[in-house]
């Protein structure tokens, strides 16, 4: 016990003396939360628009102020001629231009329909899509209001869409589980594999092996500090996302922490396994980064939905642990479900953990090769 305690103490000294380790542990999660939360968005806010109003009547100005007053758009410029359109797009600040035909209001009242042309910046397809669909919604809203004001007999059917769990479709709800899954995988698997191979590279493993320390003590001593720090990481990420993005935890926090512990153990055993395969720190680092990070980001379903992937990717995604963990976290955090809804995912993770532990302990050497 004393030996193990001494080992763990040494491991903590390594971690706290190495600036890079601390950055990995706390800087990267914070950066990822903020980057994914603010920058990578699938909803839009305050997109710049410009207007070319050739009619300048009551109805067109009314619609413009309607567009402007939504949170989605900011009116940046009132254009005078068609030739300006090209120029404003080039500045990049304008995502869409709305063109009202002359006599817009009159035509609408007389003929029952009039034309608005929406030109969107197609170089950003996602934004363009969102801008057009949002503006379509606003315009149809507006015409509905007009109809009501004139009390026309036609009663249009109006679907009322409500987004369950995430009423505003905030993208952060999706990113937080993803970031937790990736950060934990990074800290657990990469850090442990790197720290174990570091002992081998600096020759200290030779002496540890000659010492009366049992392999299990070496492994535990390596892994325990990272287990603790990863748990702190989870709390840190949850706290940060609550603080900055107001993301609540709807389900049981205890359940969430227990599931995180399982996932952390999976990551740690994966890290030990990598260390038994890699010969140098660099190999361990690259294996973890390329072999784990990339699939974790692309295939876990946190950036691209698993359901819309081609069959083969879908199949591939099911063998990578983050996919299941993302589902678990999403269910507990966003939907507030209890354990019964994540049993399948939990058991898959458990099975993976056991597999990695068996593989790594059988491969961990009592001697040198």
């Amino acid at each position: 016990m004393k030996r193990l305690a001494g080992f763990i103490k040494k491991e903590f000294i390594h971690i706290f003396r190495d600036f890079r380790t601390l950055i990995f542990l706390f800087g990267i999660p914070a950066a990822q939360i903020l980057i994914f939360g603010f920058a990578v968005r699938t909803d839009i806010k305050n997109a710049g628009i410009a207007v070319l109003d050739k009619a300048k009547d009551e109805i067109s100005t009314g619609l413009i102020s309607k567009l402007e007053s939504s949170d989605f758009f900011i009116l940046k410029e009132n254009l005078m001629t068609d030739t300006r359109i090209d120029e404003v797009f080039k500045t990049g600040e304008i995502k869409a231009v709305f063109i009202f035909e002359s006599e817009f209001g009159k035509t609408l009242i007389n003929e029952g329909s009039a034309n608005i042309q929406i030109i969107a910046d197609g170089s950003e397809p996602n934004v363009a899509n969102l801008v057009t669909s949002y503006s379509r919604a606003i315009i149809s809203d507006y015409t509905m209001e007009l109809n009501r004001a004139e009390e026309t007999s036609a009663i249009p059917v109006e679907p009322e869409v409500k987004m369950y769990y995430n009423p505003n479709l905030e993208s952060q709800y999706m990113f937080v589980p993803g970031v937790i899954a990736i950060v934990l995988l990074l800290t657990c698997a990469m850090m442990t594999s790197v720290t174990i191979t570091r002992e081998e590279e600096f020759g200290t493993m030779e002496v540890l092996l000659v010492s009366p320390l049992k392999p299990i003590q070496v492994i535990l001593g390596k892994v325990m500090p990272y287990f603790l720090l990863s748990l702190i990481d989870v709390v840190f990420i949850l706290f940060l996302s609550w603080l900055v993005f107001d993301i609540p935890i709807r389900g049981s926090l205890i359940l969430l922490m227990l599931e995180s512990m399982l996932y952390i153990m999976m990551g740690l055993s994966l890290g030990i396994m990598i260390s038994t395969l890699a010969r140098t720190m660099q190999q361990a680092m690259f294996t973890s980064l390329l072999g784990l990070m990339l699939p974790a980001i692309v295939l876990s379903g946190f950036v691209f939905p698993v359901e819309s992937m081609p069959e083969i990717y879908n199949w591939l995604s099911s063998i990578i642990p983050p996919r299941w963990f993302v589902t678990i976290v999403k269910n507990i955090m966003v939907k507030g479900t209890d354990f019964s809804f994540v049993i399948k995912e939990t058991f898959i993770l458990l099975a993976m953990t056991l597999l990695f532990i068996t593989l790594s302990t059988t491969r961990f050497k009592k001697r040198l090769e």
């Binding site: 001494g6 080992f7 000294i13 200290t204 540890l208 000659v210 010492s211 001697r367």
Partner: protein
């Protein structure tokens, strides 16, 4: 103390050791001398239970390195070729760590290392990575000694260390030996070999000879002359061209030469002067271990 019988080992088809047998007595300072890649490290790893030999057996105090490795590991101090220190831990922390890992404390066994540790104690708050080669080596030795082992195995402890520290280090080893500790050490430096009680010369995984350093050189069959000259490179070339000369080996500031038939070539100096060497000198000298080694090596190759 150590009894190695017919140890053979190979890695991916390359022979690293071939039927190596040697015995080391209790509190003996035993040296393994040989160039890089001779198999010294492999042999040490077998002795320290880190590798299982393909063939043969090693026992230490009658404990087998394969079957009884657990018991043995408590009793061996090992200092690998790269001083196995944690670069980001301080001198003190390194020592304390190895003490706890081996189930002891620095305080308990301080008397064992006090002599050596006193050299580095002023820097005990410094990180091991920032120490000079000599200090690293002393710290590594302290770490290997802290659990009071009966046997210490030192793999090239003086490689990359300055000359003063090397001398100091060997004095320490002598002292430890005086306290009854058995020491198995390897070195590529011939001048250190004479400081051992007995040495084994090893080359390409085979032992060329085991004896006291004095007896090894005493058995040298040839007369050896040290030839001096200013342009050493040209000197070696010209000596090799001379038919009467059998072997030419550069050695410090002179060139060691043996003659075929073991007969000194009276006309050699004249020949050298004709070749444009100013004031060449030849002197009969006592053979050193390196001379023996080179001779044994060339015999091996001719066989």
């Amino acid at each position: 103390m150590i009894r190695a019988e017919n140890i053979s080992m190979s890695f991916n088809g390359t022979r690293a050791l071939e039927s190596v047998s040697l015995n080391v007595d209790k509190s003996e300072l035993f040296g393994l001398i040989g160039p890089d890649g001779a198999g010294k490290t492999t042999f040490f790893r077998i002795v320290t239970t880190l590798l299982i030999p393909e063939k043969g057996k090693v026992s230490i105090n009658k404990l087998d390195t394969v079957d009884d490795y657990r018991a043995l590991r408590k009793n061996i101090g090992y200092m690998p070729g790269r001083f196995s220190l944690y670069q980001d831990l301080t001198v003190e922390e390194n020592l304390a760590f190895y003490a706890t890992v081996f189930g002891t404390t620095v305080k308990e066994n301080y008397h064992l290392i006090s002599d050596i540790y006193s050299h580095i104690e002023p820097f005990k708050k410094r990180r091991a990575g920032k120490l000079s080669g000599g200090m690293k080596q002393k710290l590594a030795l302290c770490c290997a000694l802290i659990h009071a082992p009966e046997l210490i195995v030192l793999d090239e402890p003086t490689t990359g260390v300055d000359a003063v520290s090397r001398t100091e280090f060997w004095e320490m080893l002598k002292k430890l030996q005086g306290e009854g500790i058995t020491i198995l050490v390897s070195t590529p430096y011939m001048d250190e070999a004479v400081l051992c009680d007995r040495v084994a010369l090893i080359q390409k995984g085979r032992i060329l000879g085991i004896d006291k350093p004095g007896s090894i050189t005493g058995n040298f069959s040839k007369e050896i002359y040290a030839i001096k000259g200013r342009d050493k490179f040209r000197l070696i070339r010209d000596l090799r061209d001379r038919e009467t000369v059998e072997s030419v080996n550069p050695f410090g500031d002179s060139v060691h030469v043996t003659f075929s038939g073991n007969e000194y070539d009276e006309n050699l100096l004249e020949y050298l002067e004709d070749k444009g060497h100013n004031d060449p000198g030849a002197e009969l000298i006592e053979p050193g271990i390196e001379d023996v080694f080179l001779e044994l090596m060339s015999k091996e190759e001719n066989d």
